[in-house]
Amino acid sequence: MFATLLLSLLSIASPAAEAAGQDELSFSWGSLGAPDEGWALFSDRDRLDSVGLRGGYGITPALSAVAGWQYAFDGGDLWTWDGEDDGAAAVALTTHRFTLGPKARYELLPWLVPYATVQGALIWGRARLDDDLSDDENLNQLRAGGVAPGALGALGLDLVAFSTDRPVRPAFGVELGYGWVAPLALDPLGELEFRGFYANWSLGARF
């Protein structure tokens, strides 16, 4: 949310980018490593998959500020077994990841633009549990939320279609790197840690 706000402010306060085609807006999807043992409560995979939006504002021809928001919704069934009977509860974890940082690029060809980026991140997570979905008044509709800072660094490649004189050009990007987030405290459930391989794909426009 902070990143979104900052991006909005940048777009209002800054003069038009000197280098046309350096601004961007994309739909993005990706993943971040989730090696934490506790992550199995919410997902059978070992990564946090997410979708979101990403925007960039060209400060110079080679440097822009990028901000992103990624959303993930994970969870399923929690089964308990006491040796005689089993029971179940529904669990869910919603995460919003906000990122902001510089993106340095080098236009190798008009349609091929490698880049490097380092971004600060903020993850807001909210876990929910419910052991009786049929009862809207169930006392055990639990929520636990927390915020954790982090960072990620990546190398990427933008593929930009059409000639540079068009005001809006479709683009596809991919970036790979490493991400780390401080333990996300979901009191009183415990903590979750996200770190490891980071990948992100984007499809959008450069203008």
């Binding site: 949310m1 925007g55 006392l139 979901l186 009183p188």
Partner: protein, 519 residues
Amino acid sequence: MRALILLPLLVSACDPWSRWPNESSYEVDRLWDDDVIAADGGLYVSLPQAGALVFVPSAGGEAAEVDLGGAEPVRLTLAPDQRSLLVTSRWSVCDDDDPDIETLGDCPEDELRSVYALDLVVDGALAQSFDIPPYLNAFSFTHGGTKALAYVDAESYATLDELEDQALVDLNAVAVLDLEARSAEVVSVGFAANNFLFNEDDSLALVLAQSQAIVLDLGTLDVNVRYNLTLDEDEELDARAADFTPDGRYALIAISGSRDLYKLDLEIESIDILSMDGVPSDLYVDSATDQTAVVYAGQAQVDVIDHDASFLVESVELETPVTEITALETGVLLYNDANDGVKYLYRLDMEDLELTPYVVTNPVNEVMISDSGRYALAVLRPTQSWGGSSADDYTASHYGLGVLTLDDDDALSVTLTGTPVGVALVDAADTTYALVLVEGEEELLMLDLASPSMLETVAMPAPATGIGTMPDGRFWITHDEELGMVSFLEPETRALESVGGFAAFGLIPDDSLPEREEM
């Protein structure tokens, strides 16, 4: 375009409760143990999956985890003061000094071991830790409740992990805990000691070990006297029941499978053996009359031993054998919980040995006495599965309640259509209520024992699994809810307050090495 930038804000705000993902399946053992401990001010609940202990306050407020320094509670025992909880705690230590080892998973398996301590938790907070052998898993408290003897429960030798975790096990040892001075000392008394009696001023303990009875001075921790109950030291004598006479001079010990009742004289240091008519199954020392009542599973009689008259035995004949004795305000209630053919209970006046029989419809499972002493409630068990069409068949195939009015000879049995999972008694201004939880039901049954057919119900938020009494007179009820739920019932007003969600504490596994130091 700026509208697009606002999209994250909109999605952030939009997260309806009704949406649930269905992509994962996570299996764990039961999150909470509904065998709760009712203490002054709230309930202690063990969370085996999280390895945590939670205190749920009964006066409202949020449940809170008891900080055991990363240790998990293995066993909980409440002291008689209702405030002090003895917790056998266990945690893992890694003997590998590698500074990179931060989690249990990092530690090589052969360098990982379990260590134990006995923690004293008072009012929801860790107050003291004692270093005693962890296999001392049972506690016997003095009358005043300020001291306790820790010993190995005789039933647990085959199942107690703590016995296997130790390099050396001393089965002669008991630990003497002083809960006021917060100290503990281990003393060697006798092999497999597992039954303890305390004299009236708690200065002496009579320790019943295999084939021996030992008098232990609780001040000096010296063994004063050692009685050999048999000439063969390998012979195992299992004390079925034991008690001191009111003057503290004699200890009476009934041995399983033996007709002999041992009378230990603590003043002259001698043993008399009273040969009874059968194998005693229970005995009770009545302080008011200075007599002891003895009953037999195989003998339809109760013997009353007069301590003042040279231990003269007087027999009172019964219709049926009984196995258990429960104290009443005046006298005792006798019943049989082992024989499906016995449907009699008896009230015996210990003054004049007058016997009042009561007949119920089914055999007795357990008996409770109201605080007022006016009623006894017997939980009755079925003796057959449903198969007949008569009223007798119907009654015999269901659980029931037998209501005994103790100030006359009235007994009335009522039938329960479900299986009772918990029964408790509460005295009101002019009557006594029985609170009955039936398996799977979301209603609590309240029976006025003055007219047991009149049924009142209290709605509960979920089916119950257990009920008990709080020290403040209210009732606790545990519910069959995965994420934990208990209720506190005020019997006078029927007000029910429920607390849930505490079983989710520590649900996300924590693999970090506990920081707690080994004692």
